[in-house]
Symmetry: C2
Subunit: 158 residues, 2 copies
């Protein structure tokens, strides 16, 4: 089980021209409780079960456990998931020694685009491209496990 340090940002400009690859991601949650999320994800032609613990105070670090599983099993397990399956396309963009993963959401979260960068620790510096918007690290509304229950489309009515 690894401790992952990630920072998350909204995206405000055109980023697709910088992407070197992209793939579709479909994921559901067997538990969307923040203290113990259990996610089933189909990404391209691979599938995974991922368990995450609660974030620390900064919201940057969470324990994560992940195993690859056969796609057929993932599709069966997806049927057991909570209502509200997440459907998005992930773009990969190089950024110095690091890379951004930019998720463009569809379905109930259409309109939401978020970039994530994985860092060695909370203090690590990194270049901020023009298209990078407001930081939303630690804001639980932007967790995918929250978007299942309160999708982005419903926010506009607030």
């Amino acid at each position: 089980m690894a401790l992952e340090t990630e920072r998350k940002f909204l995206v405000k400009g055109d980023f697709k021209q910088y992407a070197y690859a992209h793939e579709e991601i479909v994921q559901g949650y067997l538990s969307s409780v923040t203290e113990r999320t259990v996610r089933i994800r189909i990404k391209g032609d691979k599938a995974y079960i991922t368990i995450k613990g609660a974030g620390d105070e900064s919201g940057m670090s969470r324990y994560e456990w992940e195993k690859e599983i056969p796609g057929e099993e993932a599709r069966e397990l997806m049927k057991l998931c909570e209502p509200g399956i997440i459907d998005k396309v992930r773009y990969y963009i190089e950024n110095g020694d690091r890379k951004f993963e930019v998720d463009e959401f569809h379905g109930e979260n259409e309109g939401l685009i978020m970039a994530e960068i994985e860092l060695a620790d909370k203090e690590e510096e990194f270049d901020r491209p023009d298209w990078l918007g407001t930081e939303v690290t630690g804001d639980s509304r932007y967790y995918n496990s929250s978007l299942v229950k309160y999708p982005y489309r419903e926010w506009k009515n607030e």
Copy 2:
């Protein structure tokens, strides 16, 4: 993912003399919601992650998905589980072509002893030994995932 058919009974007499083996089981739940339980189990020197769907109307059959995982990872994942870890000793008893698994609970569920038999289907007949008590198949209070939240010791006050 297999469909398992199980029947569950309380135990009313001495069963231990018939057991050919026993082992300790410690388990916790990442989700104890009946429609999608996610269980981390350490059984003897092995460990598993198990996902079960909702039971059918009879309560006899539930979808089940299980993978063996390293004990070290199970111990880490156990820390993320909901409060209320289940601690029990499982006894194995032969019964014709089938076998009973009899769970003697400890901790918050001390006093509860339950026997389970796995069958090919709901119609299959089987011998009922003297020590077998009332059938509780489908009674969700007796699900281990329920015993986490409402342990047996608290029932006595009802």
